[in-house]
Every structure is written in C-alpha cells, then in structure tokens.
C-alpha cells in the first residue's frame, strides 16, 4: 500500500529525514514513533504530498507520489497534528466540500456523515461555523472528513491529541475497521501504550534516520515498547 524507499528531505544543511525506507502492506496499522523533531511530521507530510522531498521514492498503491500526485491523493486521507480547517465554513459545509472534491455520491455521504457525526456526538454542532469548534471537535470533524471517501491509506499525525477518551476509543475501532477492509494506516504518536496495543508494525525514527522497524513483536520482544524506545534513545545518545 505504501512503499517509502530511501526518502531524504533537507531543510538547508539539516537532514530532517535521512535515507528512510518503510513498507506498509494492506491491512496494517503502522505506528511511527520518535522524539520531537525526529522527522515524523516531515515524513508524513512528504507521503501526503505537502512537502517536496529531495530524493528517494514514495509509492502509494503502486503509484509514485511525485509522478501521479492526484491519483495517490484520491485514495489517501491525511490528518495533520493541528486541524487548521476552513474556520469560516460550517461543519456540514466543510464535510460537503471534502465530499465534493472526492466525488462521494449523495447517499454515501449522507450515510457516512450521519454515522460518524452520531458516534462522535457532534451532529448537532454541524450547523455551526468551525471557528466556534473546540480543538477536539475540529479533530473529530477532520477524522469524519478523512473517512468520507473510504480511503485506502490514512496518514495521521498525532491523531489522539485533543480527543476525549470515548472519541479516542472510537477512532481506534475505526482504524482497525479500515485495516480489516484492506486499507492501511500510518500514524505518528507519542503515546507508546496506544501504539503497543493498536499497531501491527512500528517504526522508530531518530534524527531523521530509521533506527528500528518491524512487527511489534520484532521491535519490542518481551519488553514494553516504552522500554525499547527509551533504550534505543539512550544507545543513540
């Protein structure tokens, strides 16, 4: 579903991502962990088509992100770490806008908007301008918008930040549901307990370099993910 080969991205002289390679198969929830400034967001933004990377390739469902950006974006959804949405739109207008862009048919968009707005308990607020939404409500709206067109690959940067425990639980179920249907999820998090319980595979990045990746068992063995992460951080120091 997502194949990253030798991805390198520099900001001036600093390599934010350095020769990173990852492979995410359909049905996998892939966690991406690392300290602040390790290169997680740069990697996710490169996959989402926001950043123009310097070298390497990113393939989504066999298509090159640089060569066929529109085709890649059609089957992808991205949720940034801070959901800066169009504040001047109402919630429902925003969802309609996203659905129009992805060409979601009327019945499907009605069904999905009603379903997800109900489970996230923001249906009554959809008529309000997004400017009046709290951070958590914006995050819920961004999640609903991301799920509207049934993407095959969902990229999320710290998706649980700002969500209440119930919403976080619902999101985890939704993520598993996507993967059960053959999709894939690539997300960054600092909550290692969540990553440990939720992810099929995990990658640890430091200073732009991938320092360990693989299935959860391969990466952590008998230890906790937190222990492994802290040990790796220590070793690298």
């Amino acid at each position: 579903m997502l194949k990253i080969d030798h991805l390198t991205k520099q900001y001036g002289d600093k390599k934010a991502v350095d020769d990173l390679s990852l492979h995410i198969r359909p049905g996998e929830i892939y966690g991406f962990i690392g300290h602040n400034g390790a290169g997680k967001t740069t990697t996710l933004k490169s996959v989402a088509g926001i950043l123009n990377y310097d070298s390497g390739t990113i393939m989504i469902n066999g298509k090159d992100v640089k060569a066929e950006p529109i085709e890649c974006k059609k089957i992808t959804a991205y949720i940034p770490d801070n959901p800066d949405l169009y504040d001047y739109m109402t919630g429902i207008k925003y969802l309609n806008f996203i659905a129009d862009i992805f060409g979601v048919v009327l019945d499907e968009r009605k069904e999905k908007i009603n379903k997800y707005a109900d489970i996230f308990e923001i249906k009554k607020d959809l008529g309000q301008p997004i400017a009046a939404f709290s951070h958590g409500m914006k995050q819920k709206l961004a999640i609903i918008a991301a799920w509207l067109h049934s993407p095959k690959l969902i990229i999320m940067d710290e998706p649980f930040v700002g969500l209440d425990p119930k919403a976080a639980h619902i999101l985890k179920e939704m993520m598993r549901e996507v993967c059960d249907e053959g999709g894939a999820i690539f997300f960054s998090t600092h909550v290692l307990e969540v990553a440990e319980k939720l992810c099929d595979k995990v990658a640890i990045i430091k200073g732009g370099k991938l320092i360990r990746s693989g299935s959860m068992e391969e990466v952590k063995g008998d230890d906790s993910l937190e222990q492994v992460f802290l040990e790796l951080e220590g070793e690298q120091c």
Partner: protein, 532 residues
C-alpha cells in the same frame, strides 16, 4: 513586560518590512531600507503633497483675515476624520480578534499591559493617517504665517492631541463594533453595511469638499462667527493650534479625559469581548444541508465563502463591486447633466469621452483585488488544498473566478450605463466594453500573480495580508496606473490615430500581457502554489 509586548506588536505591524515570508527569512538591510523608503514616498509623496496643497490654500485664505484658529480647526477636523475612518476596523480586529489574545491572556501579563501594547498598534495606524494632514497643516502655517518657539511647541501638541483623540474615537467605534458583532447573526454583511455607511459619508464629503471649502473661504468671517456661537469647543480647538495657552490646556485636558474614560471602559470589557465566541443563536444541523456539487463549484464556493465571511476582506478588496454599480446608476441618472458638458468640451466624434470613461471604469474596477490576498489568506489551512486530489490550477482558477465574476458583472453593468448615458456609437460601445472586461481579466491574473509572488501565510490577524500585504498595495498602485493608460495616452497622443485603431492597439497590448501572466499562472504559478 510592556517593552517585550510593544516590540512584538511593532514587529507584527511592520513584519513585512523585515521578514520575507516567501523565503522564510529576514530581509537584508538594503531591502528593509528600500521598503521603508517606498512607504515614506507613498505617504509623503502622494498624501503629503496633496494635503500640503490643501493647507496652503486654506492658510492663504484664513490667516490674512486673522482666522488662524479656523485654519487649524478645519484641518484638524479633517485629520480626525481621516484618522478615525482609516483605523476603526483595524481597531476592532487588532484589539479583539487577534489570534494570540488567548495565549497572551493565559500568561502572567496584566490585562492592561496587553491592551496598551495593542493600542499602540492602533495609535500608530491612526497617527499614520491623521499625520498626513496634521503635519502639513503645522508646517505650512509655520512657513507661511508665523514661526516662534511657542508655535513650534503648540504645533507638536496639535499633532499629538489629534492623534490621541483619533485613538480614542477609534477605540470607542471599535468597541461598539465588537459589542454589536457579538449579538449579530449575519455579522459580516452588517459590518460591511455599517462600514459602507461610513464610506458613503466619506465619499459624499469628499465630492462635496471642494464646494464646501470654497464656500468656507468665501464666507470665512460669517462662518467664524457662527462657529464661535454654536460650536465654541471647535473654536477652542482651533485656537490651541495657534499657540493660545488657555486653549491648549483645555484641549489637552479634554483629550486626556476622554482617553482615560475610554481606557476605563475598554479595560472593563476587554477580556469578556476578546475571549467571547459570540452569543448568537445556534443553527441546527439539517440533513438537507448535504448536497452534491462538482469539484469546480466546491472550490468556487469555498473562495466565495472566504470572501463573504470577512468584512475586512470585502471592504478592502471588494469595494469596487459596489462602486461600479453606484457609478453605473449615477451615470444613468446624471446623463442629462454630464453628456452636454462632455460633448461640448470634447466633441462627439473624437472618442475622447468614451476613452475617459473607459479609464474611469478601469480605475473603479481596479479597486477589486481579492485574488491578491487570497493566497496569503489560505494561512495555516493551506495543507488542505495541498493534500486533496486537486490540481493547483483548480484552486487558482477558483480564486480567479471570484474576482472575475465579482468585478466583471458590475463592470459590464457600468459600461452599459455609460454607453447609454453618454450616447456612445456602436463601435465605441463594443470596444469600451471589451476593453473594460479585458482590464478586469488583466487585473485578476495580475493580482493572483502578485499573491503568488508575495505570499504571507504566517499571520496572526487577517488584516495583515488583506490590508498591509505588499501584494495588495502593489495591486492598487499598479492597477491605478494601468487604468489610466487608455484614457491618458489617448488624450496625449492616441487621438492622432483615431479611436478604433488606438483602442485595438491598447486591447492587443493588454491581451498580450494578460496572456503572458495567464501562462505564467498555469505553469510557474501552479508550481509555486504546490510548494508553498
């Protein structure tokens, strides 16, 4: 603490002078000096010269009659009007809508310190507008009437007191706007309506100014008696400019008291207003709100929604739409007066009348420049346009469409009115309509070009890209100059080759430039947008 906040506030106001948003780095010293020189040249070279001429005219008329006070009173009133008008909505957005209000309020900073730093920004804006008139007023007086140390001190006080009074007025009006907008349902449109009333008053006064001033000059003595009788405070205000100590003390006390009262009012309600999300009735969600549209219409509606959601955006970048309609109606209604005069001066077969009005309509249409700030206004939500499966051109086209529609339709209306009112020939009518619409197209692509070349995505207040952005300022200036070309060049040299040939050449030139800019947008512009 205050010093830090003031520094931040000043940096925010003049940020574009020191920081290159496109390259994401500080400007070189040379560039900073260049920008400052350009700004000073505009303020001093255009507004300063214009108001110096006005002051010179009035000084010559009033001072020989011993009506020095009336000279200061009249020009002082104009300076107050100009300053308050120029900064009232900036006060509202600067004080109450700044995105870092929450952040600053959460810090251990006294509320009055935050307010003071914010007010400094408002003060500078008001000073910038009022001083373009008050400074020429005192300089002309000292040069033409009298000069002494006392006059110098009173002149400095005159400029200072006007600027503080402008700040007070701006704060009161900004506070009223903020209070009212908390209760309104259609905030944007009502704010625009109120603003338009201001603007209407301004233009009414502006167009009447010459006759009012001539009347004042001709009947200066009788007006001075009336003012002394019915508006004595105005007399005192004028006297303060002449160096009268008692008047200076009274005016200073008045300005200080009104400012203190305003400060008290603001400090009582600042936190409540700045942190309020509004108490308007909640709109219930209806499933019927879910509708299907095409990608193009979704993007167009998004851009149109952005435009209509912001009074600042509508007023600063879309006033031309309304002005074109008003001009059209005015031409139609006043055709009986305008046509005989114009045809007598320029004749009916020279094409000059059609060219003059063609340029005039171009000038009014150049007031619309929503595309120039539309890129910067994407701000932090730019990621959406970049991650959705749409080509950059589709986004740019939607931005162009908004400007083309909101300017093109009223331009066409105004052209039709002009054609009927001024009895154009068929050739004049067709060519001026095509020329005006070509100009609208040129301005749309040019504005978007500027927006892409000078983006500023990291703003904390939308007023920055809308009002203070380099792209908007350049658009207004270059648009004005470009609009003068058809009429100006024709009157100077073009009439020799005849209306039709000149118009066809002008059209060809504008079409060529428009095409080049369009091609640039399609290729380079899309690349820039994709990598912003």
């Amino acid at each position: 603490m205050l010093k830090v906040l003031l520094k931040k506030q000043l940096f925010e106001i003049f940020r574009s002078y020191f920081y290159d948003a496109k390259k994401n780095k500080a400007r070189s010293k040379g560039a900073i000096v260049g920008y400052i020189v350009m700004f000073v040249a505009i303020m001093v070279g255009i507004l300063g010269v214009m108001f110096t001429a006005l002051a010179n005219n009035l000084c010559g008329a009033f001072v020989p009659l011993g009506l020095d006070w009336m000279y200061f009173a009249l020009l002082g009133l104009l300076a107050v009007f100009l300053g308050a008008f120029g900064s009232v909505f900036n006060t509202y957005s600067g004080l109450y809508l700044s995105k870092d209000n929450d952040l600053l309020l959460s810090m251990p900073i006294p509320v009055h310190t935050i307010m003071l730093s914010r007010l400094l920004g408002v003060y500078l804006m008001g000073l910038m507008y009022s001083a373009t008139l008050s400074i020429p007023t005192v300089i002309v007086y000292m040069c033409k009437a009298k000069f002494s140390l006392g006059i110098l001190v009173s002149s400095l006080l005159y400029v200072l007191l006007i600027s503080v009074f402008v700040l007070t007025l701006s704060c009161i009006l900004g506070w009223v706007v903020a209070k009212v907008s908390l209760k309104l349902k259609n905030k944007s449109f009502i704010t625009v309506l109120i603003s338009l009333l201001f603007i209407g008053g301004y233009y009414f006064f502006y167009f009447k100014a010459q006759s009012i001033l001539s009347d004042f000059i001709a009947n200066a003595v009788s007006y001075s008696e009336k003012i002394k009788g019915a508006a004595y405070p105005l007399y005192i205000f004028g006297k303060s400019g002449t160096g009268d100590v008692v008047s200076i003390i009274i005016v200073t006390a008045f300005v200080a008291m009104t400012f203190a009262l305003t400060w008290f009012l603001l400090s009582k309600s600042f936190v409540k207003i700045a942190t309020s999300s509004g108490s308007t009735e909640k709109k219930a969600y209806k499933e019927s709100g879910i509708k299907v549209g095409s990608v193009a219409s979704a993007l167009f509606e998004k851009e149109m929604g952005r435009f209509t959601s912001s009074p600042n955006y509508m007023l600063n970048c879309g006033l031309g739409t309304l002005m074109l309609v008003i001009c059209g109606f005015a031409l139609f209604i006043m055709s009986g007066k305008i046509y005989p005069v114009m045809s007598e001066i320029f004749g009916t077969d020279t094409g000059i009348v059609a060219m003059i009005f063609c340029s005039a309509i171009c000038i009014v249409s150049s007031m619309n420049n929503m595309a120039a700030s539309s890129i910067s206004l994407e701000g932090k939500s730019l990621w959406l346009s970049q991650t959705l499966p749409i080509k950059p051109w589709q986004v740019l086209r939607a931005k162009l469409s908004v400007q083309l529609i909101l300017t093109g339709i009223p331009t066409l209306f105004c052209c039709i009115c002009a054609g009927i009112a001024l009895k154009y020939t068929a050739v004049e009518f067709i060519l001026t309509v095509v020329m005006n619409l070509m100009f609208v197209s040129f301005m749309a692509v040019f504005d978007l070009f500027l927006g892409l070349k000078m983006p500023d995505l990291n703003w904390t207040n939308e007023i920055t890209p809308i009002k203070q952005g380099a792209s908007v300022m350049l658009s207004l200036l270059i648009g004005f100059v470009a609009a003068l070309i058809p009429g100006g060049v024709y009157m100077m040299v073009g009439y020799g080759i005849g209306f039709t040939v000149f118009m066809l050449i002008t059209l060809a030139v504008f079409a060529a430039v428009t095409f080049v800019l369009y091609r640039w947008l399609r290729k380079k512009g899309c690349e820039i947008f994709a990598t912003l």
